[in-house]
Symmetry: C2
Subunit: 161 residues, 2 copies
Amino acid sequence: MPTPEEIIIRIVRDAWNIYVERANKFFGSLRDEQFNLQVAPGRNTAVYLLGHLAAVHDNMLPLLGFGAKKYPALEEIFIKNPDRSGLPKPPLAELKQAWENVNAALKEHFDKLGTAQWFEKHTAISEADFEKEPHRNRLNVLVNRTNHLAGHYNQLLLLNK
Amino acid sequence: MPTPEEIIIRIVRDAWNIYVERANKFFGSLRDEQFNLQVAPGRNTAVYLLGHLAAVHDNMLPLLGFGAKKYPALEEIFIKNPDRSGLPKPPLAELKQAWENVNAALKEHFDKLGTAQWFEKHTAISEADFEKEPHRNRLNVLVNRTNHLAGHYNQLLLLNK
């Protein structure tokens, strides 16, 4: 019988995997030119959301203590600035690759993480604060990033392809 | 020090509360006539999403073993059928009230639930299946319904009010 800790890790990882797979399937269904469509008039394009999600997931690597970001240049274009910032975007093929690579890197680290390590603090909180707020752990990051992904995935579904 | 079980319940409940509060704030920011706006051309209206979320959250009451649904009529209109089904919708004020009431009822039950009870099976799985799949518990339902809510909340943000 799995322990409650093992059960909850399974729940949180399953939810993450479901939305990563849904997003993969959606991005895989778009022709290249459709990545320039907006999810609603005047709103983000699919290519921007692809870059945004890749950047946010890339940031999870250092946040979870898994090492440096793989694509640090994405943050400026896809997190700190909005879609029509005028900043040039990397080619679509590179963004698709970044999205695949960061999710694969996260999965590799998740697979190696022991049960207790999921309950360890993430790197954006100090030891002192973590003593007072012990819920600010790795699992918390994954729960919140899954909600973030679910939100943007549902926006992508509105795109008229 | 809270136990790992208590910590994860806090994480999952916090994430739920964040999105319920965001949705409350958003719905509260709309003038009545704006509830008829679509989140994107040809897509769901805000009033449909309000009814849909109220219906899905109402369904959580029996699913979590908290008793009967409060608004069983919503399911046919807002879950089984799409926005422009032709089925008459209840008045907006009733839907707003339903949304408030089902979330309040859920909160009341969550507050009373003991730690171990969060790890008990939900009502849509048999005892036999739960032995094989012990992650299909109440926490799992809340994790998944939070992702569902986050998805529709992000769609609502696209509405041009």
